[in-house]
Symmetry: C2
């Protein structure tokens, strides 16, 4: 579909007709021989772009009506899954809310060795239902085109099994921060390409046990620090998602 | 001060004497001719480093006692001030808590044109007091070496005045995200150097008015998008702080 850049932004372009004349009129009608009913992309100086349909063709100008805005890319280039060791209180609710705003594709709550919160079958179903509702609302509010999935509560073994399907797996590890590890997150992101899948695991408030960390590394998880400060379990996922957006979605 | 890397990590190194023999003993006593009371840096394989003092020198080994751990860098290389348009409810409390974890140096709450929350004099003092307490606790929890300051409520004009003292000023602007702006945050960070000061302004839930944005840009604020998704007023500051840590604190 032809694309035309207009000189002026029309505020109420969705309601009122857009008029075109001069060179662009000439190009559309004389050069492209467009007829009433044909569609084009129009782009305003403020970078708003939309599909418009020709409604009328005069001797020196034509008018079009707005059909729909152009779909811009709203999703993170990487498909990022956040695995959270069951935290206390309503922390998981806001990991899901903020993580959805920041572009996460999936959330997996799991039972960590140091998780204090426990979900029984019934409670678990209601929690997951509520978390999916929170994800839905956050996706709308943040103008996303897809709603992330909140998976059912996983055991640690189920999580290890699920991790086999990802292009890369990271685990945010407090000891890595304390020991000054600096490169694993950045190096991993530099290696990944749009479309790749990344699983990032975060322990509960108590952190991860030595046994859990050993099992994770044996299963291909790379421990990484998120800077030199110690982040809370509900803050760390937002750091990773923000860093991924910064790495993949911003230009210099 | 001389620095020696030890082969084994000693768990209770703060309490019990550290013994050194072999090559390092030779280097310290025979080559450097160190005496009792002299201090050195010792580093364990787990990268823990600390200052130790020689307490005893024998024929083939010497013993040292722990004095203090070495100060590792915990603070963001940039001094980042977060200016938040007064949001609803307790959102400011957690902007301060999470922002402190993520390394912010200062917080400035200001009255935005679209701020619904209003603070009168008395309420304002109590709020600021509480926010500073939250910053203190978050700084301890995240192992920071400095506690960020939460400033008193600023008017918009006071904020513009304060902005004159910064090396760079950014404003997170929803319209920038909608219009696909991608480069201003990253380009600004690439220009800044450790020690520089950065002010980042965020509107309240209602966003910023056209008049406010115009005044900000006239005063040298650069509007920037934080990726293509629309972030809540309490999420956006965490994105910026995480991006700064990713840019300045992680290595490839």
């Amino acid at each position: 579909m032809q694309r035309y850049f207009l000189d002026e932004t029309v505020a109420d372009y969705r309601e009122s007709p857009i008029l075109m004349a001069g060179e662009q009129y000439h190009h559309m009608i004389r050069v492209m021989r467009m007829k009433v009913g044909e569609k084009v992309y129009l782009v305003f100086p403020n970078q708003t772009s939309f599909v418009a349909e020709i409604t009328e063709i005069g001797e020196e100008q034509l008018s079009l009506k707005w059909i729909e805005d152009e779909q811009k890319e709203k999703e993170l280039p990487l498909s990022v899954t956040i695995a959270s060791g069951l935290p206390k209180g309503d922390k998981l609710e806001w990991i899901v809310q903020k993580g959805t705003e920041l572009g996460a594709a999936r959330f997996i709550p799991f039972e960590g060795e140091f998780s204090i919160a426990k979900w029984n079958g019934k409670k678990s179903l209601k929690k997951i239902e509520r978390l999916n509702k929170i994800a839905q609302e956050a996706a709308e509010q943040s103008h996303r085109v897809s709603v992330p999935e909140v998976c059912s509560l996983h055991t640690f073994d189920q999580l290890l099994e699920a991790s086999k399907h990802y292009d890369a797996c990271l685990v945010a590890y407090e000891e890595s921060a304390k020991n000054g590890e600096k490169g694993n997150l950045l190096r991993t992101l530099k290696k990944l390409e749009p479309g790749d899948t990344l699983l990032v695991l975060f322990g509960p408030e108590g952190g991860l046990s030595k046994i859990e960390i050993d099992q994770l590394t044996e299963n291909g998880f790379l421990p990484c620090a998120l800077g030199p400060r110690i982040l809370r379990t509900e803050t760390a996922p937002l750091y990773v998602l923000s860093a991924i957006s910064y790495e993949f979605e911003l230009d210099s």
